[in-house]
Every structure is written in structure tokens, then in C-alpha cells.
């Protein structure tokens, strides 16, 4: 056991104490974490104020007045406060406290942003159009608008208005202008039809409903519907990436030991099984460290945003069990492939079909998460290379998986682990000393059967 420990420690240290690993497992999560905290502040919008003169050419005159009303500073302030209040009410019902604080801070920032300062000139003389366009072109006007004569008609063929812009306006400024002009048109059209616009708006406003999930522990919680989909995906990605990355480290180190001929020295001191066991334990520790780093960052983020209930401790325990299962399966596969080839590029040929098998649950995550009790989800849960990945999706989804099924799939999964490790050990024992041409699948099968 002491020799196995020595090999495991070396494997762990040589993997972890590399710049690439430090960058991938420590620096990157730290950067994600810092960015997660800083981005809401860094990405706070700083809109460019809409400022200047707009000329409206409106023969009728009613739309011009409506446009002037749209840019009335007092009305704009009231409208902004009304929208902010509505957003707070809506967010207050759906977001947990930490998220609400963040959104509130952003909403407050938007409230404090400077209001547009636009003066509207209205003209009813169609002959002035060219003059208005020229003034816009030279930048004297922010924009000029020609209102369609039939703009107030309810007939669909009316264009509404033509908008002529000076150069250099931002997308947001153009959007704000168009939005204000459209609102003015709708307002004027409604007035012309004898409709009270404010009453109609109030009547058409969608109600904000509260959806509470009543738990058997007596608490009522508002669930995050997106979280139900993305939490299982996050867990599976975490599992898949950590076992696959460390599995690749195992493959690389095995091929390296073969290609630099150090393997024979090692085998003069330890048996192939001891060597394999030490390498697998060492890389398992690497994978666990990666899980802790990325998982820790994820959990901290989720908890700080108030979604801790989406990742309860029992689900974390299942993820730990499935990590060990998945890691041993991938490690056995990688060690066998590493022993069967002499160069990394040869390994890719054998790795291709195996990767597809392990990746199938990744391709079907959405279906399995949405339908954790479907026939497909259940079938792939009993096929060992896919068992841990499929089960992580199922147990972390909202629908609970029966206990007997978790127990049975765990049994089948670890049965698969035993079989795969046994076969890998046999391939490793023979292949590790063979150099040159990579083994064919038929040869691998022969090595497995060799007594």
C-alpha cells in the first residue's frame, strides 16, 4: 500500500503543480468569481442622453402635439417612476433577497440617469420638408419627422411616419426616438377614436401573479423555473468536465511513461496493478479537487444569490457518489487506452467511439432533465458508462427519483466499474510493455481474455 500511496502522491503533485492546472482549477474559478461579483457593476448601463431639437412635419397637427407630450419632462419622470415601481413589485415576488438587492441597485441607477431633453418644433407646411431634411443633415436638428397624412386612420396601408436622423446617433438613442414617436402616434390615434389612453393602458396591464410551492416541511417557496433546468445541467457539466479532464491527465501520463521508457523501471518496483491503482487514486484526488474548486465557486454563487435550496445536501451526496463512479469508469478506460498505444495521437483513434458513449447523456440533457422518468432516461441509467451522468441529471432535476431506482442503478453502476477496472487492468498489464504499433480492438479483447 505504501508504494501505491507513493505513486498516487506523485501523480497528484505532478498534475496539480503545473501552470496549466493552476490556471484551469484555481485561477479560472477565482476569475469567474471576481467577474461574477464585478460584472453587474461593470456592465451597468450608461445611456447617452437624448438631447436636441426634433422637427415634426404634421399637416393635421394632432400628432405633433402628441410628440411634444411624449418629451414633456414631468411626464417622462412620472412614467419612469411608474415603470420602476411595477418592476420592483414584479421582481420582489420572483427573486430571492440577494438578487432583489442587486436588481434594485440597478433599477435605482436607471432612475437616477438623466432624462431626455428634447424640444419639439411642429410645422404643418409640407413645403418645408426639404428644409427640415437639410437642417437635420447639417446637425442642426436631432431628427426630422414627416407624419403620413393617413397616420391617424386605422387603415393598415398607412406608414405612420418617416424619420430622418442626423449622423452619429447611438442605437439606444434611435430606439428611444422611435419608441417615443410610435407612442405619440398610438396616443393621437386613440384620442381621435375617443379612447381614454390612460384607462385603456391600465385595463390592458398584465396582472403579476405569485406562484408559491408548498413544501412538505411546511414552508412556501417561490421556485426559480430556469434553475430547475440549469441546475442539473450545471451538475452534469461539473461531473463530466472534472472526470474527463482528469481522465485525460491519466491517459497522458500513462502514454508519457511508456514513451519515455520509464515504465520498465517502475514495473521493476511495483506490479502493473499497483501502478494502475496508484495512478487512478492520484488522478481521482485531482478530479475531486477540481470538483471542489468549480463546485465551491458555483455553490457560493448560488447561495449568495439566494438559490441555495436548489442544491440541497442530499443531492450533493449523490453527486459525490456518482463522481467516484464516473471517475473510475473514465479512468479505467483512459488507463487501458494509454497502455495500448505508444503515442498520444494513436490514442485519439481508440478514444473517439468511447467518447461518444460517455457523451450521450450530455447530448440529451434537456430531454432527461425535463423527463427524468421517461423510458429513455431510465434505460440509459442502467447502461454503466452512462449511468453516473444520466443519474446526476435525474436526481438533481425537480422530479424525485424513487429510492429503489437510485439503489439499483448505483449497484449496476458499480458493477460496471468492477468490470471495466478488471478489463482495464488486464489490458494495462499486457499493453504497458508493448511499444510500436497501437493495439487493435481485437488485440485488446485478446489481452482481456489472456489468463
Amino acid at each position: 500500500m505504501a508504494r501505491v500511496t507513493e505513486i498516487a502522491v506523485r501523480e497528484f503533485r505532478t498534475t496539480v503543480l503545473t501552470k496549466a492546472f493552476l490556471l484551469a482549477a484555481i485561477v479560472l474559478p477565482a476569475v469567474f468569481w471576481v467577474l461574477g461579483l464585478a460584472l453587474p457593476f461593470l456592465l451597468r448601463p450608461e445611456p447617452k442622453r437624448l438631447e436636441g431639437v426634433i422637427a415634426v412635419l404634421d399637416v393635421d397637427g394632432r400628432i405633433g402635439a402628441a410628440v411634444q407630450r411624449e418629451f414633456d419632462v414631468e411626464r417622462l419622470q412620472l412614467e419612469r417612476e411608474r415603470r420602476a415601481a411595477q418592476a420592483r413589485r414584479l421582481l420582489g415576488m420572483t427573486l430571492p433577497e440577494p438578487m432583489r438587492e442587486m436588481v434594485e441597485s440597478q433599477a435605482q441607477g436607471a432612475l437616477e440617469a438623466p432624462l431626455p431633453e428634447v424640444r419639439v418644433e411642429v410645422s404643418s407646411d409640407p413645403g418645408e420638408l426639404e428644409s427640415l431634411r437639410s437642417r437635420t443633415r447639417v446637425g442642426e436638428l436631432l431628427a426630422s419627422v414627416r407624419v403620413d397624412a393617413a397616420a391617424l386612420s386605422l387603415a393598415e396601408e398607412s406608414n405612420g411616419y418617416d424619420l430622418f436622423l442626423r449622423e452619429g446617433l447611438t442605437r439606444q438613442q434611435v430606439d428611444d426616438l422611435q419608441s417615443a414617436l410610435s407612442s405619440a402616434l398610438v396616443y393621437a390615434r386613440s384620442e381621435s377614436q375617443g379612447i381614454d389612453v390612460e384607462r385603456a393602458r391600465a385595463a390592458l396591464a398584465k396582472p403579476v401573479a405569485t406562484a408559491l410551492t408548498l413544501r412538505d416541511d411546511g414552508t412556501d417557496v417561490q421556485e426559480n423555473q430556469l434553475g430547475k433546468i440549469f441546475v442539473p445541467l450545471a451538475f452534469m457539466m461539473l461531473l463530466w468536465s472534472s472526470v474527463w479532464v482528469t481522465g485525460n491527465y491519466l491517459l497522458t501520463s500513462t502514454v508519457e511513461e511508456k514513451s519515455n521508457r520509464v515504465i520498465e523501471v517502475l514495473l521493476s518496483a511495483v506490479s502493473p496493478l499497483e501502478l494502475l491503482t496508484g495512478k487512478v487514486i492520484g488522478q481521482c484526488a485531482v478530479g475531486a479537487l477540481m470538483m471542489l474548486m468549480y463546485g465551491g465557486v458555483g455553490l457560493t454563487a448560488v447561495s449568495s444569490l439566494g438559490y441555495a435550496h436548489l442544491v440541497p445536501p442530499d443531492k450533493l451526496a449523490y453527486v459525490a457518489i456518482y463522481f467516484v463512479m464516473a471517475f473510475l469508469m473514465v479512468a479505467a478506460t483512459m488507463a487501458a487506452i494509454g497502455a495500448a498505444v505508444s503515442e498520444l495521437r494513436d490514442a485519439q483513434t481508440l478514444l473517439g467511439p468511447v467518447t461518444i458513449l460517455f457523451m450521450l447523456p450530455l447530448f440529451t440533457w434537456f430531454f432527461v432533465t425535463e423527463n427524468p422518468s421517461s423510458t429513455f432516461a431510465r434505460v440509459i441509467s442502467y447502461i454503466p458508462p452512462m449511468t453516473p451522468f444520466a443519474m446526476v441529471l435525474r436526481v438533481t432535476s425537480v422530479e424525485s427519483v424513487p429510492g429503489w431506482e437510485i439503489a439499483l442503478t448505483t449497484l449496476v453502476g458499480f458493477g460496471g466499474v468492477v468490470g471495466m477496472v478488471w478489463a482495464a487492468a488486464r489490458i494495462f498489464r499486457v499493453g504497458i510493455l508493448i511499444t510500436g504499433k497501437p493495439a487493435t480492438p481485437a488485440e485488446l479483447w485478446k489481452w482481456v481474455r489472456r489468463p
Binding site: 507513493e6 517502475l266 510493455l433
Partner: protein, 323 residues
């Protein structure tokens, strides 16, 4: 006392190819035994079975009085195809191998330093293996084989690729380890090296043992009983004069046109002939000819497998010299 290595009826195949064919071999404890044969003779496969890296298809291998697997920590091994972890520091690498061989942590750093000094590499402990020259790397590999101070040391082609200076250092260390009482098995196709270093020789050809004897036994059995004589000033009729000396069967002028080969009768005493030749007059060379291990090998193969096999064996040896 049991033998250091006891191999009985061992056979090993790789598919249809027989690598080792019914090998019987006993290596006495404390001996420095050369296992010789051309490339592909089955030497490395035999070693791998001794180290329990491979297992025989048939027969038994006993090492240091027990199973091969149980003796791993008491065996040192320098493989023919040897390597290092390129990015590991020399000190770390040697400590790692020593730990795998069961050396306790206490005093390990001092042991590594001592060995590096002993092999004349005192300042490389903190250097990465890839920074060393090929010769230095080979010395580090040698330390990895002996750092746990094994009872049995197996060296597979230890001089391969070494420059003459480093070969002398290695030669000295092998001698010291032998004098310390360790059993050393030296596998090589370089017959002259083995003849110079070993006290016992095993010749292997095509997976089978062809000869197993001490060097004096080999010389007694294969020496040509011939004296090379080169007079300082050749004279007319010298061939007849030499052939008439007591105990000489025939005298023949050699290809160089200067020296003569005197074939001795079974009962002839070389010392008396030396005196007679010295009395004849000044000579540039009077030498009792010794058989080379290469010649012995070819003769052994010829006796066992016929003339064509002997020719092939000589060709194998010539080919191996370039390695």
C-alpha cells in the same frame, strides 16, 4: 546457500514466436554473471520474468530463495530501454524510485547525495532530468537501479551509448558492488565487455542456453592451444625450425607475413615453448593465443545447431556491434 536466480524449464512465447525455449539456469549468489547473446536471443524476456514484469508460459522462476514478485525490493534493475521523467528534478526522481523500492524516508536525501557523489555527479540534484546530457542521464538511471542497495542487480546493456570516460566510472562501480557481495547479472551483446568484467558467462541463442561456465572453464575448454610468434628478424627456413620444436604440431606463416601460428600438441607445455622461443633470438611478440567469447559463441552455436546457424549467429553479433 540457495542460488540467487533459479530458472527451471522456462518457456515464453509471443504469439507464434518462441522468445525463451525451455531455459534452465542457476546464478550463484555473489557471482558477476554475464548473460550474452545477440539481439533477440531472449535475454531481456528472461530478465523480465526474473523481475516478475512478465510471467513464463511454462516452468518456474525463483529469485533470492522465493517467488519473483516477493523479491522485487531486493532487486535492482537497469533496463535496456531506460528513461526518466523529463521534468522531474534528479533528486526527486531518485527519491521517488527509492521509496518505491522500500527505502525509508529517514536519511533518504543523504543517500541520494551520497550516490550522486559516488557516481561523480555531485551538483545535479536540483536540476531537471531533461537538462542533463545523455551520459549524465545514464548515470542517474544507474543510481535508480542501485539506490536501495539490492542483493541482486540486473543490468541490461549497461554500457550501451556510454562514452569511454563514463564507461570507466560504471565499470568501477560494478566492480565495487560485486566486491560488496552483491550478485550481478549483466546482460549484453558486447562480448569483450563481459569477458573483461564477468566471472561467469551464460550464452543464450534463440531462447535457449548454449553455454554456462566460469571464464577459466571456458578458456580451458575453448582455447586454441596456439602460440603467436613474431621474430624481430625473419630468417630462411624458420617455418621448419619452429615446427621441429618439442610439442609443436605445425607452424604456419600468418596473413600479415611476419608472424607464425604454432599449433601445440595436447601434452605440450606452453611455458617450456616460451623459453625455447626466447632462446631462438629477439622477438617482437610471443603470445599464447586466447579464444574470444565471440568465437566461443559461434562454435557453441555451430555444435548445437549446425554451420548455417553459426554463420547466422556471427552475422547477428556483427550486427549487434553497431548498437
Amino acid at each position: 546457500m540457495t542460488a540467487a536466480i533459479s530458472i527451471r524449464g522456462v518457456e515464453k512465447r509471443f504469439g507464434d514466436r518462441v522468445a525463451v525455449a525451455g531455459l534452465d539456469l542457476e546464478i550463484p549468489r555473489g557471482s558477476l554473471c554475464g548473460v550474452l547473446g545477440p539481439n533477440g536471443a531472449g535475454k531481456s524476456t528472461t530478465i523480465r520474468m526474473v523481475l516478475s514484469i512478465m510471467y513464463p508460459d511454462r516452468g518456474t522462476v525463483e529469485v533470492l530463495g522465493g517467488g519473483a514478485l516477493a523479491a522485487k525490493e531486493r532487486i535492482g534493475y537497469l533496463p535496456e530501454e531506460r528513461g526518466l521523467y523529463r521534468t522531474m528534478r534528479v533528486g526527486e526522481y531518485l527519491a521517488y524510485i527509492a521509496r518505491l523500492k522500500g527505502v525509508p524516508r529517514d536519511g533518504l536525501a543523504a543517500r541520494v547525495r551520497r550516490w550522486l557523489e559516488r557516481i561523480e555527479l555531485p551538483d545535479v540534484q536540483q536540476r531537471r532530468c531533461q537538462e542533463l546530457s545523455k551520459g549524465m542521464q545514464q548515470k542517474v538511471q544507474f543510481i535508480a537501479a542501485v539506490i536501495h542497495e539490492p542483493e541482486l542487480l540486473i543490468l541490461d546493456e549497461p554500457f550501451s551509448g556510454l562514452d569511454p570516460v563514463n564507461a570507466v566510472v560504471l565499470d568501477r562501480l560494478i566492480g565495487e558492488l560485486h566486491r560488496e557481495g552483491r550478485t550481478i547479472l549483466l546482460c549484453t551483446h558486447q562480448m569483450q565487455q563481459a569477458e573483461r568484467v564477468c566471472d561467469r558467462i551464460v550464452l543464450i541463442h534463440r531462447g535457449a542456453k548454449r553455454l554456462d561456465a566460469t571464464l577459466p572453464e571456458i578458456h580451458a575448454r575453448f582455447d586454441p592451444r596456439s602460440i603467436a610468434y613474431e621474430p624481430l628478424a625473419p630468417s630462411a627456413g624458420i617455418e621448419g625450425e619452429l615446427a621441429a620444436l618439442p610439442g609443436v604440431l605445425s607452424a604456419r606463416l600468418q596473413r600479415d607475413g611476419r608472424s607464425y601460428a604454432l599449433s601445440l600438441a595436447e601434452a605440450a607445455r606452453p611455458a617450456e615453448l616460451f623459453e625455447a622461443l626466447v632462446r631462438r633470438g629477439p622477438a617482437r611478440r610471443i603470445e599464447l593465443e586466447r579464444v574470444s567469447l565471440e568465437d566461443v559463441f559461434v562454435r557453441v552455436v555451430r555444435a548445437a545447431e549446425g554451420e548455417s546457424a553459426a554463420a547466422a549467429a556471427r552475422e547477428d553479433l556483427e550486427h549487434g556491434k553497431g548498437d
